[in-house]
């Protein structure tokens, strides 16, 4: 690894970090606006034109709040909890290919921080660690509601991760690779996986909502039953980090869904362009797809009421997993047939 490469990757990491945080901040704004529109309201419109400075005001407020640690709480775990959540939310973006190669200063720069050959496994691994942030936070708070929220989060995670993994396996079968870069390249132009695997996409989307703790699967943090769930005892920027990590992981998992099923940075008619034009257009196409996913996730949140816990388990174990397995078997047979193994 030469020095230029080191600089280039560091710059990319820093840029991604800032973009992730910026996007997460403006997701909160967009979410509030969207909620307002759906409920025939105006939404935040006081801070700056159209309330565009609202996230900055919210962030400042979070920083200025009293940072309170309950007396009976496990202090170190209490502090580590939000950190783990944020860390896992941010680190997933390292394997995402954000666009085709960009040519700057005579160098071909890959817009992917790390091209692991097991990118998709890495994503699943990190996402599963993410639940530890919630679990530790809920446990360390020494509050029964927090603990309930944490237990719900982990049981929900376990139930839905299976169906999610199985539906992602079909994509790995189709592209023949675990690397996210290869998966994106196999969907060149308009050859997107959604056209081959609509069922898998559907399951993946639902399980992603559950993994993100988003409505209608936001049981770990439901206000009405658990007064906020695992972050009941948190205040100030620790609470801010939890909320922020939720939005960051929403951004990243929208990116993952776009990569696995909607061709990542590919867009129809991309062969007409080349070089930096292609790179910029591909980034724009990818950003648009991510935006649409975020929009749909928020739209769902403000439409559908929360599931009951037994309904959640029923949906996970008795519906999604069998459907995902059947889908995987059929895909396997078709792939084997096409390859001439049968």
């Amino acid at each position: 690894m030469d020095t230029a490469m080191l600089i280039e990757k560091s710059a990319l990491v820093l840029l991604l970090f800032l973009i992730s945080l910026g996007v997460a901040a403006y997701q909160t704004y967009f979410e509030r606006k969207l909620a307002a529109w759906i409920q025939d309201r105006v939404g935040p419109d006081r801070a700056g034109p159209f309330g565009i400075l609202q996230p900055i005001a919210d962030g400042t407020k979070m920083f200025l709040k009293e940072d309170f640690i309950p007396a009976k709480a496990d202090k170190w775990l209490f502090i580590i909890g939000p950190g783990i959540s944020m860390f896992t939310a941010l680190i997933t973006s390292a394997v995402v290919p954000w666009g085709t190669n960009l040519n700057l200063f005579g160098r071909d720069i890959s817009l992917q921080v790390a091209d692991f050959n097991i990118g998709i496994l890495f994503v699943f691994g990190v996402v599963s660690i993410g639940v530890y942030g919630i679990m530790i936070g809920g446990w360390a708070s020494n509050n029964k509601y927090s603990l309930y929220g944490a237990i719900r989060a982990s049981s929900q995670m376990i139930s839905y991760e299976l169906a999610m993994g199985i539906s992602a396996i079909t994509i790995v079968m189709l592209s023949g690779s675990l690397s996210l870069n290869d998966i994106v390249k196999s969907q060149h132009g308009m050859n997107w996986n959604i056209f081959y695997q609509p069922v898998a996409f559907f399951i993946f989307f639902i399980t992603s909502l559950a993994e993100l703790n988003r409505a209608p699967f936001d049981l770990p943090e439901c206000e009405s039953e658990l007064i906020g769930g695992y972050h009941t005892e948190y205040s100030s920027m620790k609470l801010g980090l939890y909320l922020f990590s939720e939005y960051t992981s929403m951004f990243v998992s929208s990116a993952i869904m776009a990569i696995l099923f909607f061709g990542g940075y590919n867009f129809p008619g991309m062969d007409a362009f080349s070089g930096n034009t292609l790179a910029i257009l591909s980034i724009a196409a990818f950003a648009l797809k991510i935006f649409l996913f975020i929009f749909v996730i928020m739209w769902i949140r403000w439409t559908i009421p929360r599931f009951r816990f037994d309904q959640l388990m029923h949906l996970g174990w008795k519906v999604l997993i069998p459907v995902a397995i059947v889908n995987m078997l059929i895909t396997g047979l078709v792939v084997a047939w096409n390859q001439g193994w049968m």
């Binding site: 969207l34 409920q39 309201r41 439409t303």
Partner: protein
């Protein structure tokens, strides 16, 4: 049995059909509804910049009127205080001295007249009870204060200024009261 209202609904617990059990069509239907709401026009009135238009007969902060020559109409008869269901009005009366004819219309006047705006329910009965056309409710809003005693409005706040009359013509829809 004939129902008294048209809101009667027949309750049924039929088992759900497969279409309903899939649940997806219902979700899509719900999402379409919320999408329609997204495109709807907002009815919000952005308060400090825009204010809601009041009805002509809106009952807001009171005013104690003067006549055309600038003399106070109120004679401290106390009928408004008697009529007031919230017992918000108190007053003391005094006799007009010589040389005060330009201040008070009749021989008796209210030396103090207080309305507790926290007690007042803005029913307008004081206005109806008043035989001298002295007290009226207007379309002005009682402002917020930090202390309770600041809500007890005395004559300094209630009596209109001679050079800054409060328009109450909008309220005289019966045609009974001719003067402003």
């Amino acid at each position: 049995m004939e129902s008294l209202t048209n809101r009667k609904k027949v309750v049924s617990d039929k088992p759900m059909t497969l279409w309903e059990k899939i649940y997806i069509p219902a979700i899509v239907g719900g999402m379409m509804t919320t999408f329609k709401h997204m495109l709807r026009r907002r009815k919000t009135i952005k308060y400090p910049e825009e204010t809601r238009v009041f009805a002509p007969v809106y009952r807001g902060q009171h005013v104690l009127k003067r006549d055309e020559q600038g003399r106070e109409n109120c004679t401290a008869c106390g009928l408004c205080a008697v009529a007031c269901p919230a017992e918000a009005i108190t007053m003391t009366s005094a006799e007009r001295k010589k040389g005060e004819e330009h201040l008070y219309r009749e021989e008796k006047y209210a030396s103090s007249y207080e309305i507790n705006m926290l007690r007042c329910i803005f029913c307008g009965l004081c206005e109806e009870a008043c035989p001298k056309e002295a007290v009226f409710l207007t379309d002005r809003i009682v402002t917020t204060e930090f202390e309770r005693d600041e809500f007890i409005y005395g004559k300094d706040k209630l009596v209109e200024a001679i050079d800054d009359r409060i328009d109450i013509t909008k309220r005289q829809f019966t045609g009974k009261r001719t003067e402003k």
